[in-house]
């Protein structure tokens, strides 16, 4: 039933202005694949090209090697879930879900059976005969999901399906979506600008910016080994600092400040000395000893599990540091501290190209 989707050098233009120029990507059968990026990065455009609502100006999109470019949305056998749900307000819940099946001239009793089953799966059976206007946003989104998957589509497309829901419901619904997707096993393309949501639901994620895919990988890969500075900044929070990488004796050493240096081994030394270093707030530790980068606490924010500190380094740079909260008050502003860096987890980038220069792990695959 479900298919692989291939993008082969795909081009999209609006009024002769290219917004996507030559994009290639493969999405595996049954995979939950997310297009992630800031607004205007082309992710929704790309999704709507898969759906057939946007024309394709160059290259091709294939489902299992079948070229889709000229096929209308009606004939692509897709299921689509929209940001505003797009529930038909003039039809009851049951008739919304049965809308596509009726169009296929499927026998009445089979429609009934399939609708009942899918309403069970998305857990809205009790609203079967309600009109949509009486239902909450979360319930409407479940209808939209049921309406799409009851068709047993080759591909399930979701365009920011959770962005109109409130924060708590969003978390509940993304669990539900993930669960249901695994149960039915349809190749799914999901669009969101929320990186946490992307990581929660996806098998793999493509991070996009300005119409170009920056990195494709599992949530862990793109978080731990971002391919470039953009990904590193967009996924989670991070501090980007400029430091030099030097060869000292036979070792490669990252010079954090005059008293604190870190050995780096999984790297071939670039020609330039100066590189960019991405250190996430949680990869700093406030040291108990005298070892570490010298800094002064500027201010702190208590957030329950963690405390966020802004620390001014000796060279005047401010960095964000996250520490697990402990009993008692956070450190006072003005306190002098030493910061240790978790050597394994930081990422190093080429100064000009801003590409990751670390070797090992799987980011390069």
């Amino acid at each position: 039933m479900s298919v692989t989707i291939s993008f082969n050098n795909v081009i999209k233009k609006y009024n002769d202005k290219p917004v996507i120029s030559g994009l290639s990507l493969d999405i595996k059968k049954g995979e939950f694949f997310t297009l992630l990026g800031p607004s205007g990065c082309g992710k929704t455009t790309l999704l709507r090209m898969v759906a057939g609502f946007n024309s394709i100006e160059g290259g091709e999109i294939t489902f299992d090697d079948k070229v889709m470019n000229r096929i209308t949305p009606q004939h692509r056998n897709i299921g689509m879930v929209f940001q505003n749900y797009a529930i038909f307000p003039n039809l009851s819940v049951k008739n919304n879900v049965a809308f596509g099946l009726k169009n296929r001239k499927i026998p009445k009793d089979e429609i009934e059976r399939r609708v009942d089953h899918i309403l069970d799966v998305v857990q809205i059976s009790q609203f079967k005969n309600s009109m949509p206007e009486n239902l909450s946003g979360g319930q409407q989104q479940r209808i939209a999901l049921a309406r799409a998957i009851v068709m047993e589509p080759n591909v399930l497309l979701m365009d920011e399906p959770l962005s109109n829901l409130d924060a708590k419901l969003r978390v509940d619904m993304r669990e539900a979506i993930k669960l249901i997707q695994h149960e039915v096993g349809i190749t799914t393309v999901y669009v969101t600008h929320d990186q946490e949501e992307a990581m929660a639901v996806s098998d793999r994620i493509a991070v996009m910016n300005a119409g170009v895919i920056q990195q494709v990988g599992t949530p862990r890969e793109i978080y731990q080994r971002p391919a470039n500075i953009f990904v590193s900044n967009f996924i989670g929070r991070t501090n980007i600092v400029e430091r030099s990488l030097k060869k000292v004796d036979s070792r490669q050493v990252l010079i954090m400040d005059e008293h604190y240096q870190i050995d780096i081994d999984n790297i071939t030394l670039p020609e330039e000395e100066v590189i960019k270093v991405s250190i996430r707030p949680e990869e700093f530790t406030i040291s108990d000893t005298q070892e570490g980068m010298a800094g002064v606490i500027q201010h702190s924010v208590f957030l329950g599990i963690n405390v966020h500190y802004t620390v001014k380094l000796s060279n005047g740079e401010n960095v964000e540091v996250t520490e697990e909260s402990t009993l008692g008050e956070p450190l006072e502003p003005g306190t002098e501290v030493k910061l240790l860096v978790n050597r394994e987890k930081i990422n190093l980038f080429h100064y000009e190209s801003e590409k990751n220069i670390l070797e090992g792990d799987s980011y390069a695959k």
């Binding site: 709507r48 609502f53 689509m80 505003n84 529930i87 038909f88 307000p89 939209a144 497309l157």
Partner: protein, 550 residues
């Protein structure tokens, strides 16, 4: 992300082309014939008709008359409608809900009934005139001519600007007012420096509508103008003159009228484009209960206006129940006028319903289709269709009547004298308004609803009929009622096109007034007003709204 379907050929392209062809035939062709007639004489290019018009005072004075009436009516309507809307928005007025409805009803009643009513009251033999001269020996100034037209048209058109203004006042956020007050702007200064500038686009749009209506109005100057002829009256007289109408000359005057209307239309568009901004109010202005002299003046103003707008028409209804002897009213009450109306003019009631309902059907059908393609399939062709469909907005009814008669006077399109030509006139005159309101409804429907249907395998037509149309329906029905009300009160085009077999109630009333059969005219007017009021009450009931946008 908006041009998703643009350029794709589907069933809607065919529908667009079909409607475009229809427009070319029933609107563009007649208007070109009109233009041709105006600049050709005896087969040769000649501007003699225009020369004749501008050469004789009797002719060109009508141009000044029309401009005088139009400008005066527009200004007077603005001067009265602005405080009216302001008071209705910001003051607590007793019985406001009913006042709103009455104001709207007063605007939907056929305009020439207003003229007729004022003649009954203040004409040479009017009750007020007679009363004043008998009791106080005061001779009233003459109601006929400019002053009569001004009074009747102004009272008729105030609600149009009023409705525009009410909408705009509602979109002003109260915080803007509060911000102004906190900076020391209060009272008149607040209204003049803060609120009125926000209303400028609305005032311009409303004024344009009033200007067009006043310029095009035929029934009022015809009935109450007497020697004071306006352009539409001149067109009618020249075209239907008993000494063999002069089509070419009437066509030339028509062209002049259209040029004036077009100039004003473009001017308004130009200014509006420069001044436009959009507002939406999270917290609309709330009405306040005022006390003392302010409160009394506000109430007097609103009730006084409404009395002037409605009482004359009520007097017409009253006279319908008076006993008549021949052509004059006598003491006592009876239903004789109604009996006479049904026996002599019963067929006009039937014609009004049959022609009106058929026209209404086509208005709705075509408006929905045009609105759909212009909103959802924006491209050069649908834009063209949008523009063509708006042309009747600036072409006065009498001009359209002349154009249709000239265009369809010969085979293969010999339509003059048929019901078809009247229906065509009704449909193209009403379409601009209905297309606008339908388009507004479609704009409220998210395109993703249709994409959802497409993704579920439904064809374009199926999506339209199963999803889009049912969602539009409530709005379309209420729009249809308003169309119906305006269609049945149409006079300026049908008076040129009608025959015995297609005579409608409005024409019936007009001819009875001209003949002096005031009883029958009053009875027919009463029936027409009753149909209008009942239709509007259904509209209010269905929509739960207190306002109408044309």
């Amino acid at each position: 992300m908006q041009n998703k379907m643009a350029g794709r050929k589907d069933i809607w392209s065919a529908i667009t082309l079909g409607i475009l062809l229809l427009y070319a035939l029933v609107l563009v062709l007649p208007l070109f014939t009109l233009l041709k007639e105006s600049i050709f004489k005896d087969g040769a290019l000649s501007f003699e008709h225009f020369g004749e018009f501008f050469g004789k005072k009797y002719y060109y004075s009508t141009l000044f008359n029309s401009l005088k009436v139009t400008v005066a009516v527009t200004l007077a309507s603005l001067v009265i409608a602005t405080p009216l809307a302001y008071i209705m928005t910001t003051f607590k007025i007793k019985g406001k809900l009913y006042l709103q409805i009455l104001i709207l009803i007063s605007s939907m009643a056929p305009p020439f009934i207003g003229a007729y009513a004022w003649i009954l009251l203040m004409g040479r033999n009017g009750v007020v005139t007679n009363f004043l001269s008998d009791v106080f020996h005061i001779t009233m100034p003459d109601i006929y001519g400019f002053s009569g037209i001004l009074i009747v048209l102004t009272l008729q058109l105030i609600p149009l600007i009023y409705m525009f203004m009410m909408g705009a006042f509602k979109s002003i956020d109260n915080s803007l007012i509060e911000a102004a007050e906190s900076m020391g702007y209060t009272g008149f200064k607040k209204v003049w420096k803060v609120i009125m500038p926000l209303m400028v686009p609305t005032i311009l749009a409303g004024s344009l509508l009033v200007f067009m209506r006043a310029l095009a109005d035929f029934g009022t100057p015809m009935l109450i103008g007497e020697g004071f002829e306006t352009l539409p009256v001149l067109i009618f007289n020249e075209f239907t003159s008993e000494m063999g109408g002069n089509a070419g000359f009437a066509a030339a005057i028509s062209v002049i009228v259209v040029v004036i209307a077009l100039t004003i239309f473009l001017l308004q568009k130009y200014i509006t484009n420069k001044k436009s901004f959009s507002m939406s109010a999270l917290h609309p202005i709330k009405e306040k209960k005022e006390s003392g002299i302010k409160n009394v003046v506000a109430h007097l103003f609103v009730y006084g206006y409404l009395a002037l707008a409605i009482l004359p028409q009520l007097y017409v209804v009253y006279t319908a129940f008076l006993k008549t002897s021949g052509r004059i009213f006598v003491k006592g009450y009876s239903l004789d006028s109604f009996k006479a109306a049904f026996t002599r003019s019963g067929d006009t009631i039937v014609h009004t319903f049959t022609l009106g309902l058929i026209a209404l059907f086509f208005v709705i059908l075509i408006a929905i289709l045009i609105a759909y393609v212009t909103v959802r399939r924006r491209n050069a062709i649908t834009n063209g269709l949008d523009i063509i469909s708006m042309v009747p907005y600036i072409v006065p009814g009498s001009v359209l009547g002349v154009a249709l008669l000239l265009g369809f006077n010969n085979k293969p399109f010999l339509l003059s004298g048929t019901a078809t030509i009247i229906i065509i006139a009704f449909v193209i005159r009403r379409l601009p308004y209905t297309i606008r309101s339908s388009a507004a409804i479609i704009h409220q429907i998210s395109p993703s609803i249709e994409e959802a249907a497409a993704s579920l395998g439904a064809s374009n037509l199926k999506t339209f009929f199963k999803i889009t149309l049912p969602m539009m329906l409530p709005g379309v029905i209420s729009g249809a009622i308003l169309s119906w009300v305006t269609i049945i009160s149409e006079l300026s085009t049908s008076i040129l096109l009608y025959t015995v077999n297609t005579k409608t109630m409005t024409i019936g009333i007009y001819t009875e007034v001209i003949r002096g059969n005031y009883g029958v005219a009053a009875a027919l007017s009463t029936i027409l007003i009753a149909i209008t009021v009942i239709s509007l009450l259904i509209f209010f009931k269905l929509t739960g709204r207190k306002e109408v946008s044309l």
